[in-house]
C-alpha cells in the first residue's frame, strides 16, 4: 500500500504545478520510503525546538510548509485527494487536514525565514518550526489569511449541511456528459474539501460496519467504540442527506480523476447496479447476491461482484435456484428479475425454502409479519425450515394461550399406573381398570379383568381363559391353543404408551373390546428450540426429562439433526439430546429424546395447529390466521376489489397485499386444471404493479416462490384465480386484502 501511494506521490509530484520554492519536491519523492521517514524525523526533531506560538509577531509570508514534511504527510494520506492540494496554499492544506482528507502529523512543520528586524543586513536564517493543528487554525484566523474558511466550516456544520448539499442539486447522471459536468462542477467548487470531507465520513461509517462484521471478535472495547462512533456518524449523515445524495457524494469524491468510472454504473438501469449506487438498500438484493457470489453480502465490493455476475451472466440467477431445489422452477433470469424487483416492495432478507414447509399458510403468515413488522429479526439464526413455523406459532400462542392445541404428553412414573379395558361402543361403553404390574393371576391383572368382562358380557357366564401372544403366533395358537380366548397384539403397533389388541373368543373376533391408552401428562409446547421461551419444545422436553429421570435442575436438552448424533463422540456421551429426523416436513413429527445415551420413548406429540387462513364461517370457532395476525401485530387490512384499488394501495406507500387463489389460474403454465371446479389453493403476496405493452401486471410471490424471486403476472390471471377460489369458498370470499 505504501509503495502504491509512493508511486502516486511521484506521479503527482512530476506535474509542473508541484514545485515548491526553488527546490522541487520531485527530488525528495524519488527517495524511498525510508529516506522520507528519516528526513521527516530530522525535521520533526529540529522543528520541535521552535514552537511557532512563541513568535507572536510571525508573519504568514515568513512561513512555508516544509516539502519534506509534505512528502511524509502525502505518503500517509489517501491518494485520491492529493490532487486537491495546491502548492503554496496554506489555506487549502488546512482545509484538507480539517476535513480528514490528509493526515497531518501532530506537528505541522514549516520552513521559517527568520530575520533580525533591527538589522536589515543580517542574513535571512532558515529554520524549522511547528504549529499543532489548532494553533495553526488560530494563527490563520488571527492573521485573517483564509477569510473564507470560517464560512465554509459553517456551511458544512450539521445544522446547515442539508441546505448546503441541496444547493448542489445532485442528480443521478443519465449520460457521460452529466458525469463530466458533475465532476467538473465539484472540482471547481471552492468548498470541494468540505464536500468530500462529508463524503469520507459516510464512507468511513460503511467501512466501520464491515470491519465490525468481519473482525469484531478480535477487537477490544476501545476499538469497537471507535468503530461504533463512525457507524453512528455515517448513519446520521446518510439519514440527513438521503441515500442518493450520500451515495453520489462518495462516488464523486472517489472518482475525481475519472468521470468515466463515476458514470459507468449510473448508465445501467438494473437493480444490481442501482443498489450498488445506493438507490436501494442492500437488503433488497442480499439474498440473491449472496447466492450469486457465494458469500454474505456486506459491502460495496461484494455488491459490485454481484452486479458483475448478474449483468454478465443473466442465467446465473436461474442456475443458483436450480441447485437449491426448493421452489417453483424455472425462474426468470437476472435481467428480467431485476426489472420485476424494481417494482416490488417485498423484504427478502430471511431464509426461505418453500418445499421444506408442509403447510404454506405459515410461509405467508411469516412473510406478512416480516414485511410489516420485521419480525424475522427476532429469530436471526433460524433455518428456512424453522422460521415460518416458529414465527407463526409464537403469534398464535400470544393470541390465545388458553386454547393452544400443541402438547407433548408423557408417562410420568410418579402417576398411578392404571389402565383400562372397555367394552361396548359409544355411550354404551363401560370400562374397567387393571394394574399392568399386577401378577398374572391377581384379580386386578389385565388377564383377570379381561376374562371377567368376557365371561359376564360375552360368554353367558361360562368361564373364559385367555392366552396373550404376538400376532405372528396367531396361526399356531388358532389351531393348537387349548384356551377359549386368544388375545394378540401387533408388535409394530404396540409400545409402552399404547398397545391395541385383538380378542378372539371361541374363535370369534370381539370388536367391541378396546384397550385404553396409558394416562399421560400433557404440557403445551411451541415447536423448535428457543431458550428464551419457557414453553419451547426443547425446554418442555428438558422439563420432562428432569422429572422422569430426576436429572439436574440445570439440564438443557439440545435439538440436533438425527444424523449428527453419534454416541461414540465424547460430546454425546452425557446429557440430553432431541434428535430431529432428516425428512421431517411438519412441526409435529416425532423426535427422539436421548438422555445419557438412553432413549426415552414414553411420550407423544398431540394436537395440530390447524387454522383457516381467512374466517371460514361465522359458526367456525377456530380463529383464522389473518385474525390472529391483525390482533397480535396490530395490522390493519382493507379488501382490494379492483386493479385501480390495488394501484392506489401501493401509491399510498403501502407495501403489500395478500390473498388466496387457485394456482391453476395464477400459473396455468405450471399447473393445469383438469376437472370442473378444481382449485389447488395457494397463498400469495402482491408487492407491486407494472404496465408493459398495454398489459397490466402484478408482481406476485406465491408461497411456491422464494421471496427473492417474484414473478410478473397478468392481472387477468390473478382475477381468475380469485374468482375461481371465491366459487369454492363456503362464504364466497374474495380473498384479496391490503395490509399495513
Amino acid at each position: 500500500m505504501k509503495k502504491y501511494q509512493l508511486f502516486i506521490i511521484i506521479i503527482i509530484a512530476s506535474l509542473p504545478i508541484f514545485t515548491f520554492g526553488q527546490r522541487s519536491i520531485f527530488f525528495e519523492l524519488e527517495e524511498n520510503q525510508k529516506v522520507l521517514q528519516r528526513n521527516f524525523q530530522i525535521i520533526y526533531n529540529s522543528a520541535g525546538k521552535l514552537p511557532l506560538t512563541s513568535k507572536p509577531d510571525l508573519d504568514i509570508n515568513n512561513i512555508t510548509l516544509s516539502p519534506k514534511y509534505l512528502s511524509w504527510v502525502f505518503l500517509n494520506s489517501k491518494s485520491n485527494y492529493l490532487k486537491l492540494f495546491k502548492p503554496n496554499n496554506l489555506c487549502r492544506f488546512t482545509e484538507l487536514a480539517y476535513n480528514g482528507l490528509i493526515n497531518p502529523t501532530d506537528r505541522i512543520i514549516f520552513e521559517v525565514s527568520l530575520t533580525n528586524s533591527n538589522d536589515d543586513q543580517e542574513p535571512v536564517k532558515n529554520v524549522y518550526g511547528f504549529f499543532n493543528f489548532d494553533q495553526l487554525l488560530t494563527f490563520l484566523k488571527k492573521k485573517k489569511s483564509c477569510p473564507s474558511l470560517e464560512a465554509k466550516i459553517e456551511s458544512f456544520n450539521d445544522e446547515n449541511l442539508k441546505i448546503t448539499l441541496d444547493s448542489y442539486e445532485l442528480k443521478k447522471p443519465k449520460e457521460l456528459r452529466d458525469c463530466e459536468n458533475i465532476i467538473s462542477k465539484i472540482l471547481d467548487d471552492p468548498m470541494i474539501t468540505f464536500f468530500c470531507g462529508k463524503a469520507e465520513e459516510i464512507t468511513d461509517g460503511d467501512l466501520a460496519i464491515v470491519e465490525l462484521d468481519t473482525n469484531g471478535v478480535n477487537l477490544n472495547s476501545v476499538e469497537k467504540n471507535r468503530l461504533n462512533k463512525k457507524i453512528q456518524r455515517g448513519i446520521y449523515l446518510r439519514n440527513k442527506l438521503g441515500d442518493l445524495n450520500a451515495s453520489l457524494m462518495g462516488q464523486i469524491c472517489k472518482n475525481l480523476d475519472s468521470p468515466d468510472n463515476f458514470c459507468r454504473p449510473h448508465l445501467r438501469e438494473d437493480l444490481w447496479t442501482k443498489t450498488l449506487n445506493g438507490e436501494f438498500p442492500i437488503e433488497k438484493v442480499q439474498s440473491i447476491c449472496s447466492s450469486l457470489t457465494n458469500t454474505k453480502i456486506k459491502n460495496k465490493n461484494d455488491l459490485k461482484r454481484c452486479a458483475n455476475i448478474a449483468n454478465e451472466m443473466p442465467s446465473s440467477c436461474v442456475e443458483v435456484l436450480r441447485q437449491k431445489k426448493s421452489s417453483l422452477f424455472p425462474v426468470t433470469n437476472c435481467n428480467e428479475l431485476s426489472r420485476i424487483l424494481l417494482f416490488s416492495n417485498l423484504k427478502t432478507d430471511f431464509p426461505d425454502c418453500p418445499s421444506e414447509i408442509e403447510n404454506h399458510l405459515f410461509i405467508n403468515a411469516q412473510r406478512i409479519a416480516s414485511n410489516l413488522k420485521g419480525i424475522h429479526q427476532k429469530y436471526k439464526n433460524r433455518s428456512c425450515k424453522e422460521l415460518p413455523n416458529k414465527v407463526y406459532s409464537n403469534i398464535s400462542y400470544e393470541y390465545d394461550s388458553e386454547s393452544w392445541p400443541l402438547n407433548i404428553c408423557y408417562y410420568d412414573p410418579a402417576d398411578a399406573d392404571e389402565q383400562k379395558i372397555c367394552s361396548g361402543i359409544g355411550l354404551q361403553q363401560t370400562c374397567k381398570s387393571f394394574d399392568s404390574d399386577a401378577p398374572l393371576n391377581a384379580s386386578n391383572s389385565e388377564k383377570s379383568v379381561l376374562e371377567r368382562i368376557l365371561r359376564e358380557e360375552y360368554n353367558d357366564g361360562i368361564e373364559v381363559n385367555c392366552l396373550f401372544f404376538e400376532k405372528r403366533e396367531l396361526d399356531k395358537n388358532l389351531f393348537g391353543a387349548t384356551q377359549n380366548c386368544l388375545v394378540y397384539h401387533d408388535s409394530t403397533r404396540c409400545d409402552f404408551l399404547n398397545c391395541p389388541k385383538e380378542v378372539l373368543l371361541n374363535k370369534q373376533k370381539i370388536k367391541s373390546i378396546s384397550f385404553g391408552k396409558r394416562e399421560l401428562r400433557c404440557l403445551p409446547y411451541i415447536p423448535g428450540d428457543d431458550n428464551e421461551n419457557k414453553i419451547s419444545e426443547t425446554r418442555v422436553i428438558s422439563q420432562i426429562v428432569k422429572r422422569v429421570y430426576a436429572a439436574s435442575s440445570k439440564l438443557t436438552c439440545k435439538l440436533i439433526p438425527e444424523e449428527r448424533y453419534n454416541p461414540i463422540f465424547l460430546d454425546y456421551k452425557q446429557g440430553c439430546f432431541v434428535l430431529s429426523p432428516k425428512n421431517c416436513l411438519h412441526s409435529r413429527c416425532k423426535k427422539k429424546i436421548i438422555y445419557n445415551q438412553k432413549e426415552f420413548k414414553n411420550f407423544e406429540y398431540k394436537g395440530e395447529l390447524n387454522e383457516n387462513y381467512f374466517e371460514l364461517s361465522s359458526q367456525n370457532k377456530v380463529h383464522s390466521m389473518t385474525k390472529k395476525l391483525k390482533k397480535v401485530l396490530d395490522i390493519k387490512d382493507e379488501k382490494i376489489l379492483s386493479l385501480t384499488k390495488m394501484k392506489l394501495w401501493f401509491k399510498n406507500n403501502n407495501k403489500i397485499i395478500h390473498g388466496l387463489g387457485c394456482i391453476e389460474d395464477l400459473y396455468p403454465d405450471f399447473f393445469r386444471r383438469t376437472v370442473f371446479n378444481q382449485c389447488k389453493v395457494i397463498p400469495f403476496i402482491i408487492s407491486g404493479t407494472s404496465q408493459e405493452n398495454n398489459t397490466e401486471y402484478v408482481i406476485i410471490n406465491t408461497t411456491l416462490d422464494l421471496s427473492a424471486y417474484p414473478r410478473k403476472l397478468r392481472w387477468n390471471n390473478l382475477y381468475n384465480s380469485l374468482k375461481m377460489y371465491q366459487h369454492i369458498h363456503p362464504q364466497k370470499l374474495w380473498a384479496l386484502y391490503g395490509v399495513k
Binding site: L321, R322, K325, S326, F329, P330, T332, E336, P354, S355, I357, E358, N359, H360, L361, L585, N610, E611, N612, Y613, F614, L616, N620, I663, D665, P668, D669, F670, F671, R672, R673, V675, F676, N677, Q678, C679, K680, V681, I682, P683, N693, N694, T695, T703, L704, K712, R714, N716, N717, Y719, N720, S721, L722, K723, M724, Q726, H727, I728, H729, P730
Partner: protein, 350 residues
C-alpha cells in the same frame, strides 16, 4: 424480388407457421339445476351429477334420487374426473382445503363405479390421479416419497412404483399415459430441470427417453389419441424464448412430425378427446407485443388452425366427459358439448 417469388415465400410462410382461420364460437354459460360451484362432475348425457354441498360431503344426484357418496366437513374439497368409456370415476378428497396449502400434500383417492353401482373405495393417497385403458389402470403421484404408483385394477391386481428424479422443481406436475397394458409414458422433469418423456415397459422394466427438451425454460405436454402420441412444447410464458409447436411421434420408430408451429409462446393445455380429428389448445394470438390467449383448434390431418374464441384471456381449458370447458374471467364456460347439465326425463327403469 419478383412477385412470383414473394407469393411462393408467402405461401411457404403460411404453411410452416400454421395458417389461422377464424371461426369464433361464443363461450356458452353452463346451465344446471345445481349451483354451478357445487358441481364436481356431470356425465356426458347429463344423467347424473356429482356435487359437493357447502357443508362438505359429496353427493350423487340422478333423476329423482340423491345419495351421499363420501361424508366430510366444510373444509374439504372434492374433485371428480372420469369418462364414459372408463369403468370408474376418480374422486380426490382434500381435507383442510382452506387451512393447509401445499400442492404436494397427498389427497385421498377413491374409485367410484361409473355405473353408479357400488360404493366409493379408497385406493391410495397421492395427487394427480389418472385413469388409463378404460379404467383398467390408475396412476397417482406421491410427492412425499417421490414415487409414481400405477395400480392394475383388473385381476390379477398388482401395483407398480416408479421413482421420480430429484428435480429442481419440487412442485412439478408429472403426468402419466398408457398406450397399452405393457407400456407407461411418464412426463417429468429430470434432475437437470429439463422436461422429458420416459417410456417404460412394465414387463421388462426397461425404460427409454423418447422426448427430451433442450432448455429448462421449455415445457412439455402429451396426449394420446387413436393410439397416436401428440406433444405440445413451448417455453414457459415470459421467458423470452419464443416458439411453440405440436408434434406427433410414431411409438415404434420414434419419428417425430411437426403438425403446427408458431413463433409466439402458446399456453397449450392440449385437449385430444373432444373430437375425432382435432386437438384443442390455448394459442397466443399476440398483436403488437401484447399477448391474447384464446382457444384454437388443430384439425388433423390438414393441420389447419382455427381460432375458436375471441375472449383474449382464457387461462384454462379442460374436458369433462365429452364437454370442453374454458375458464374465462373467472367463469367456467362451455365451448364444446351440451351446455345444459340437467336432464329431466324420467328414468326408464332399466
Amino acid at each position: 424480388m419478383e412477385l412470383s417469388k414473394v407469393l411462393i415465400l408467402l405461401f411457404f410462410t403460411i404453411i410452416t407457421s400454421g395458417y389461422t382461420e377464424e371461426i369464433k364460437t361464443p363461450l356458452k354459460p353452463i346451465i344446471s339445476k345445481q349451483a354451478l360451484y357445487n358441481i364436481r362432475f356431470v356425465s356426458q348425457d347429463s344423467s347424473f351429477t356429482i356435487y359437493q354441498k357447502h357443508t362438505g360431503s359429496l353427493f350423487l344426484s340422478t333423476n329423482y334420487s340423491i345419495k351421499k357418496i363420501i361424508d366430510s366437513d366444510e373444509n374439504t374439497q372434492f374433485t371428480v374426473e372420469g369418462v364414459k368409456s372408463s369403468k370408474y370415476l376418480l374422486i380426490s378428497k382434500k381435507d383442510g382445503a382452506h387451512r393447509e396449502f401445499n400442492p404436494n400434500n397427498n389427497e385421498e383417492i377413491y374409485l367410484y363405479p361409473y355405473s353408479l353401482n357400488g360404493k366409493a373405495e379408497l385406493i391410495g393417497t397421492g395427487i394427480n390421479p389418472q385413469s388409463h385403458l378404460n379404467g383398467d389402470f390408475v396412476s397417482y403421484i406421491n410427492k412425499s416419497n417421490r414415487k409414481i404408483y400405477l395400480q392394475k385394477l383388473t385381476l390379477p391386481k398388482s401395483v407398480y412404483t416408479f421413482s421420480l428424479p430429484d428435480s429442481p422443481n419440487p412442485f412439478f406436475s408429472e403426468s402419466v399415459l398408457m398406450p397399452n397394458e405393457n407400456t407407461i409414458l411418464i412426463s417429468w422433469q429430470n434432475a437437470s430441470g429439463i422436461n422429458e418423456i420416459i417410456k417404460m415397459n412394465l414387463e421388462q422394466s426397461e425404460s427409454k427417453i423418447i422426448k427430451k427438451l433442450n432448455s429448462y425454460y421449455s415445457k412439455l405436454e402429451m396426449c394420446l389419441k387413436n393410439e397416436n402420441l401428440y406433444f405440445f412444447e413451448a417455453s414457459y410464458i415470459g421467458y423470452n424464448q419464443e416458439g411453440s409447436k405440436i408434434t406427433t411421434i410414431d411409438l415404434n420408430n420414434f419419428n417425430e412430425t411437426t403438425l403446427y408451429s408458431s413463433k409466439a409462446t402458446d399456453l397449450g393445455q392440449i385437449s385430444c378427446h373432444i373430437e375425432e380429428n382435432s386437438i384443442y389448445f390455448i394459442k397466443n394470438f399476440s398483436e403488437n407485443k401484447k399477448d391474447y390467449f384464446d382457444v384454437a383448434k388443430l384439425t388433423l390431418p390438414s393441420n389447419k388452425i382455427q381460432r375458436m374464441t375471441n375472449e383474449d384471456y382464457v387461462t384454462n381449458i379442460f374436458e369433462m366427459d365429452g364437454r370442453l370447458i374454458a375458464v374465462n374471467n373467472g367463469e367456467q364456460m362451455l365451448l364444446f358439448g351440451e351446455n345444459s347439465l340437467k336432464k329431466d326425463s324420467i328414468p326408464s327403469g332399466k
